[in-house]
């Protein structure tokens, strides 16, 4: 106790130097904290986007993940309804799952022949109720919904759906969808206009055409979607765009078509047996991915189903890369800050040892052991670290809160539109404690170096030091 008292008093013997040291530790703590919270925000933002888009886990027919994009129809899951029922009724999985829904991924060409525009698209066949529920997933309480209205798919009409804003622009839907900040497609030539009807996809692939029942709805812009069926024949459906919504990643936004699951089935499988190319699971908590994956594999093995399980990291390699990149940058910054703290505290404690050499000699003469001298200086370094880290955490948290309320917008990597500049201030107690502990340990280690030198001084030399 006396040692602690002496250490605390010694710290304020040279107030200016101690304040400078504490400031250096504090700045280190603020920098690491804000960078950490900022990176966490980006990573969790990316995770939220990806989980909304593709869930945490997808179940495919074996081989689909590697080869399915070339011919998705060939990798359909025929018993997808049984698979879904098994999963949603499983006592272990049920509480972990937010949404379990069949999906169809397909590729094709979307055309808006009113403006003579077409574009390859990536289509997702979704059950609207499930899609709408998935859009609201916000495990990390990021509240992007406050600034970005989640898309809503119509469950009334199977022919209606949504497209990415980028695709809407490319296909000249800005005006009809009343999109803001939407650059107009260049005006088509009269010659092209004259040829318009001849180039309508509706004239192609009549073998599997199954959209006879589709009624033309003048209020919503119509697209013709062309894709190859499982048997390889071209197939076309009419698709009405209810709205365009940002899809986060630009490449995805420029190609996304979210259509009703049944319409996607019609497009991909025509008149043949209706299947799904995957079953998507969105979990309540991302941390449960491994648990769910293990359970699913166990069920599939037990049922002898030829299915494979892929998780978020496999489905969205960009996410894994981004996490890796941000972790590297954060580690680098943390190391730099730690080194600064180390040198600052070493410098401070070395000065302190030099100034107090005579005092060290006195303490040793009175009977304090070498260990006691080391402990004394190490304790002082620890206290400096604790004060600096604590103040840094407090100040960093205040700055973080101010940033979150600043209203600044920015465009994070992989995003198609600006979002509010925020740092993650909730659910980061683990990070805060790690930073605090790391800096205190660093300050302690830094103090130990001169402390050890102090303890090894010869008593007579220390007493003779002026």
């Amino acid at each position: 106790m006396k040692q602690l008292q002496i250490a605390a008093r010694n710290i304020f013997r040279n107030v200016r130097r101690s304040v400078m040291t504490i400031s250096a530790i504090m700045v280190g703590a603020i920098a690491i904290l804000l960078f950490g919270e900022f990176f966490m925000q980006i990573i969790r933002g990316l995770q939220t986007n990806f989980v909304i888009q593709s869930g945490h886990i997808s179940i495919f027919k074996t081989g689909y993940f590697d080869f399915g994009s070339g011919n998705p129809g060939a990798y359909g899951i025929k018993n997808y309804e049984e698979v879904l029922a098994t999963i949603t009724n499983d006592f272990e999985l049920k509480p972990l799952i937010n949404v379990a829904t069949p999906t169809i991924n397909l590729f094709g060409i979307a055309g808006n022949f009113e403006v003579e525009a077409s574009k390859t698209f990536f289509g997702k066949g979704l059950i609207p109720v499930d899609f709408n529920k998935m859009s609201k997933w916000d495990e990390h309480n990021l509240k992007y919904g406050d600034v970005r209205k989640p898309s809503v798919m119509s469950s009334v009409d199977e022919t209606h759906g949504i497209v990415g804003v980028g695709l809407a622009k490319i296909l000249g839907l800005c005006e009809k969808l009343k999109l803001k900040k939407c650059s107009q497609i260049p005006a088509k030539s009269k010659k092209a206009e004259a040829n318009l009807s001849a180039r309508n996809f509706g004239d192609l692939g009549k073998e599997d055409l199954v959209n006879e029942k589709v009624a033309i709805e003048p209020e919503k812009p119509r697209l013709d979607l062309l894709a190859a069926t499982a048997s390889g024949a071209p197939n076309v459906v009419s698709f009405f765009v209810d709205e365009a919504s940002q899809q986060g990643v630009k490449e995805y936004d420029d190609a996304f078509v979210g259509m009703n699951f049944k319409l996607a089935q019609q497009l991909l499988f025509g008149r043949s047996e209706k299947q799904a190319t995957g079953v998507v699971l969105q979990l309540n908590h991302t941390d449960d991915m491994d648990k769910v994956r293990i359970r699913l594999n166990s069920i599939f093995k037990e049922k002898n189903w030829d299915l494979e399980v892929r998780d978020l990291l496999e489905l969205q390699p960009f996410y894994k890369q981004a996490v890796g990149m941000f972790t590297s940058i954060f580690s680098f910054i943390a190391v730099i800050m730690a080194v600064i703290v180390l040198f600052t505290v070493v410098n401070t404690m070395t000065m302190s040892v030099m100034e107090r050499t005579n005092e060290i000699g006195t303490l040793r003469a009175i009977g304090v052991k070498r260990k006691g001298i080391t402990e004394q200086f190490v304790l002082e370094g620890s206290i400096l670290g604790m004060i600096g880290a604590s103040l840094g955490i407090i100040l960093g948290s205040i700055i973080g809160t101010m940033v979150n309320h600043s209203g600044f917008m920015w465009l994070p990597p992989g995003q198609a539109e600006a979002i509010p500049l925020r740092v993650l201030t909730t659910g980061v107690s683990g990070i805060i404690f790690s930073i605090w502990l790391g800096l205190v340990i660093m300050a302690t280690v830094a103090a130990w170096i001169p402390a050890r030198r102090a303890s090894k001084m010869k008593v007579v030399d220390a007493l003779g030091h002026i």
Binding site: K2, I6, R9, N10, R13, N358, E359, G361, T362, L363, R364, A365, I366, G367, V368, K369, R370, K371, K458, V459, V460, L463
Partner: protein
């Protein structure tokens, strides 16, 4: 039974053919040459000599702050050359106290806390510590200055605190290295008198070094040292030389 074992029974410090040599680069500097002395228990012993004569080196060896180059030293019945660094620290904490020329108080501790500190090292319980510390403060007449830090005390007051710190643990041996050198003559005389009174009260062995021959009258035994050698040893009755 050797000579040193026999003499240790009556003496607090026994030196037998002790040499101490310092190495300055490639040059060897002899600081003490063939010192053989006995410092009797519970006496007020003075080591007198000019600056650079080896007084401090001799005190450092007696106080186990340094090690001899050769020879044998026994302090309070222990051959200290055989002890480890930690054992020597414990030995000092229990048996030896120092009063320095520059007072050497811990600047961040109050007078009370400075006096109390050696008792903490001995692991004494708080109530006994408090009792002893207050008693020592009273003995040196600084009860009113108990909460003053060293920088709030005069030179004489600091030395009184240092004396109290040295004696609070009731050591067998108190070493004072020119305790009056940084004090005016009046204060110096009062400090010597205080040391003398306390030495009588507690019965400790006091060894102090000085270059001031006027203080010789206070000593019961005097060793004159010059160029690292003991020139003579004088034993005096209380208050004057014999």
């Amino acid at each position: 039974m050797s000579l040193i074992q026999n003499s240790a029974q009556n003496n607090t410090v026994v030196f037998e053919k002790v040499f101490k040599t310092y190495q300055m680069g490639e040059v060897l500097i002899p600081a003490l040459k063939n010192i053989s002395i006995n410092i009797p228990k519970q006496k007020f012993t003075m080591i007198l000599g000019p600056s650079g004569s080896g007084k401090t080196t001799l005190l450092n060896l007696i106080g186990c702050l340094d090690q001899q180059t050769s020879g044998r030293i026994e302090v309070c019945g222990s051959d200290v050359s055989r002890l480890t660094d930690d054992e020597i620290s414990e030995f000092r904490a229990k048996n030896i106290a120092f009063i320095f020329q520059n007072f050497n108080l811990i600047p961040v501790l109050s007078a009370y806390e400075n006096i109390e500190y050696p008792l903490i090292l001995l692991g004494m319980n708080p109530s006994e510590r408090r009792e002893r510390t207050l008693s020592m403060l009273s003995s040196v007449g600084l009860v009113d200055h108990a909460n003053h830090r060293p920088n709030q005390l005069s030179g004489g007051q600091k030395q009184r605190v240092a004396i109290a710190r040295a004696l609070v643990k009731q050591p067998g041996l108190v070493l004072a290295d020119e305790p009056t050198a940084n004090l005016d003559s009046k204060t110096g005389a009062s400090i010597i008198e205080l040391m003398h009174n306390i030495q009588e009260k507690f019965g400790a062995t006091f060894v102090f070094s000085t270059h001031d021959p006027q203080l010789i009258s206070h000593a019961e035994q005097t060793f004159r040292i010059c160029d690292g050698e003991i020139l003579n040893e004088t034993t005096a009755s209380k208050g004057g030389s014999q």
